[in-house]
């Protein structure tokens, strides 16, 4: 077991709005090993994006706040750091890639300037060295002719190329942990395949740990070693990727995997989960999935199931699983 880089313990993040407290993340725990890609998968508004932003403590002030739990990076609890110390971590120890390449880059500055900014900030190199560092970051992400491309403006590049620039910014200071929040959702299938392959070998070269946030099971299968399935602010199941696909225990995981149409076989009807996800304003008392779960008993409806370890690193929160 390589050593653990990030340990999240019982994280609670809420949004205080006029309609009341939205418990976006309601007590989740997981860990990420060095050099490993850990998947956070779930449908929209399940709390996966909020988890990513909570780790970087970048929640929209003043409505969003972390109300509980610990986030331990290499032994230090990020919650105890001051704003200034936390800024030292952002971009240096932990960095993040956002979903939409079209809006992630500042339209009025050249690509080179935006990468150099991180390098100058965190590595304090003299100017001539900074340029070298920027070119090596662009080359790491496989951008052709970096010497000329760094003078381009973002709008002169395609979506795929821009997402590589965002990747270069993230990797420019060789972070320990990279949070990728649906980086390929806005890209076409073949460009996505390129991007995922690129990140697999960047991980081999730099041993960076990656938290990969996505709703696409194809991406999970392709790049993640371990996965946590989230639903309405809680983690339903965490396991190795092959276990999740081959032997899932939680009814929600099973239902999700079965409702994904498969390219390698012809189904005439897809399994579909009835009903709608719960509103985060008034969450059901018991298990969040109970109202839509085919095997729900009354205990499921009024008491939250504990997280049970059912195998090596395989945990499930469901009353059915002993």
């Amino acid at each position: 077991m390589s050593d653990v880089i990030l340990q999240v313990e019982d994280l609670h993040t809420s949004f205080f709005t006029r309609a009341g407290e939205v418990k976006a993340v309601d007590g989740i725990s997981f860990y990420v090993n060095e050099g490993e890609t850990f998947g956070l998968v779930g449908e929209s508004a399940c709390g996966k994006t909020v988890t990513g932003l909570s780790i970087l403590r970048l929640l929209p002030e003043p409505a969003g706040r972390i109300v509980g739990g610990k986030i331990i990076l290499d032994g230090t609890n990020l919650m105890e750091l001051s704003k200034k110390e936390m800024r030292g971590i952002r971009g240096k120890k932990i960095s993040m890639i956002l979903q939409d390449p079209m809006t992630s880059l500042n339209p009025v500055y050249t690509v080179g300037d935006q990468i150099a900014e991180s390098v100058r900030l965190h590595q304090g190199l003299p100017d001539d060295m900074v340029e070298l560092e920027v070119i090596s970051a662009l080359r790491l992400l496989g951008i052709p002719a970096p010497e000329s491309r760094l003078h381009d403006y973002p709008f002169q590049m395609s979506g795929g190329m821009r997402q590589r620039v965002v990747g270069s910014i993230a990797m420019s200071c060789r972070p320990r942990l990279l949070i990728a929040d649906e980086p390929t959702t806005a890209l076409d299938a073949t460009i996505q395949a390129q991007y995922l392959a690129l990140f697999k070998d960047i991980q081999k070269q730099t041993d960076v740990a990656i938290i990969f946030i996505t709703h696409d099971f194809g991406v999970v299968a392709n790049i993640c070693q371990r996965v946590a399935v989230m639903y309405a602010g809680k983690i339903m199941e965490t396991a190795a990727t092959s276990t999740i696909f081959k032997a899932p225990k939680h009814p929600y995981t099973v239902a999700l995997i079965n409702s994904v149409p498969r390219l390698d076989q012809k189904d005439d009807r897809l399994y579909s989960i009835e009903g709608q996800p719960p509103s985060l304003l008034n969450l059901p008392p018991g298990c969040r999935f109970a109202p839509r779960c085919p095997d729900a008993q009354d205990i499921c409806h009024n008491q939250q199931p504990p997280e049970v370890e059912v195998g090596d690193g395989h945990t499930v929160s469901c009353w059915k699983v002993k």
Binding site: M96, V108, L121, F155
Partner: protein, 307 residues
């Protein structure tokens, strides 16, 4: 870039023609144009002179042609009461107006930037609400009334500042402050809303993700993008500037073009008003052109598309 400028110049030229037609028609709208140019004491012989001056005996097109060609040679006609060319009168007063307008513009622009950006970055704090209240108040109280009250307080009670005229720097204080008070709210709102939109964007979040201190995120990343919104309103700011000038100059007896227009109104000196209107129209077109060029400079996307 040059083709873009030539094209815009052409459009401005056409617009100027349009405005000159509007003014030309307005003069003749009230039936007997000499009525406008006659004062109560003018004799029959004066009226004949006015008719000749306006060339009313010639055909409509010819009159318009004389009017137009005169306009482009800078000859905006003769003043009735002062017997001097209108252009000369305007140019004589222009420096005073400019001194007042430019100084109050810069003061309010600087203040607007500071308060607008601070207001946007520290939302709903005491400062932000204070700034917002000042903006709303500023836009609500009538400029001329504020000016008079200022005279009441600073000149009548405390006798600290002179209420009228120009000359010593002390004369500048009240007019410039009133003008700034008039311009500040509008500009501040524009900059604040421009900033708020930019601050919601993804690249600002990415800037924070990089670990940049908030000051760099605001003043380097956000501000330049937020500059674009107020720029498009430069035209409106110019209109506010002139409105402010007309009012402030009248309240404080400041001998600028604004005061001239009101004096001309009372002395029924129509050519002067006509001249001022055309000059302002030309300035408006120039401002619009400059804004477009500056716009292209700040936002590279536009610069690349135009070529």
């Amino acid at each position: 870039m040059t083709r873009f400028i030539i094209m815009r110049l052409l459009q401005s030229f056409i617009a100027l023609i349009g405005i000159s037609i509007l003014v030309f028609v307005l003069v003749r709208a009230s039936g007997d144009p000499t009525m406008l140019f006659r004062t109560s004491m003018s004799t029959e012989e004066d009226i004949a002179r006015i008719r000749a001056n306006l060339g009313l005996d010639k055909s409509m097109q010819e009159q318009y042609w004389i009017f137009l060609s005169g306009m482009f040679q800078g000859d905006l006609g003769e003043s009735l009461t002062k017997d001097r060319p209108v252009t000369e009168m305007i140019l004589e007063r222009l420096p005073n107006s400019l001194k007042l307008a430019v100084s109050s513009f810069f003061i309010s622009m600087i203040l607007a930037f500071l308060l607008g950006v601070l207001g946007a970055t520290r939302r709903d704090t005491f400062l932000d609400n204070g700034v917002k209240f000042l903006a709303i108040l500023g836009q609500a109280l009538p400029g001329f009334w504020v000016a008079i009250m200022a005279i009441l307080v600073f000149s009548v009670y405390w006798q600290v500042l002179p209420p009228y005229g120009t000359g010593t720097p002390a004369h500048y204080v009240l007019p410039v402050v009133t003008m700034a008070f008039f311009l500040l709210p509008g500009m501040m709102r524009l900059i604040r809303s421009g900033m708020l939109d930019v601050l919601d964007s993804e690249y600002i979040k990415l800037a924070r993700i990089k670990g940049l201190p908030e000051r760099v995120v605001i003043w380097k990343h956000a501000l330049r993008n937020a500059l674009i919104a107020p720029l498009t309103a430069a035209g409106m700011i110019f209109a506010m500037l002139i409105t402010g000038a007309v009012i402030t100059e009248n309240v404080f007896g400041w001998p600028g073009v604004g005061r001239l227009s009101i004096e001309a109104l009372f002395s029924r000196d129509f050519p002067v008003i006509q001249g001022i209107t055309i000059m302002v129209a030309a300035a408006v077109l120039l401002i619009n052109l400059l804004v477009d060029i500056l716009y292209a400079y700040i936002d590279p996307r536009i610069r690349y598309q135009q070529m």
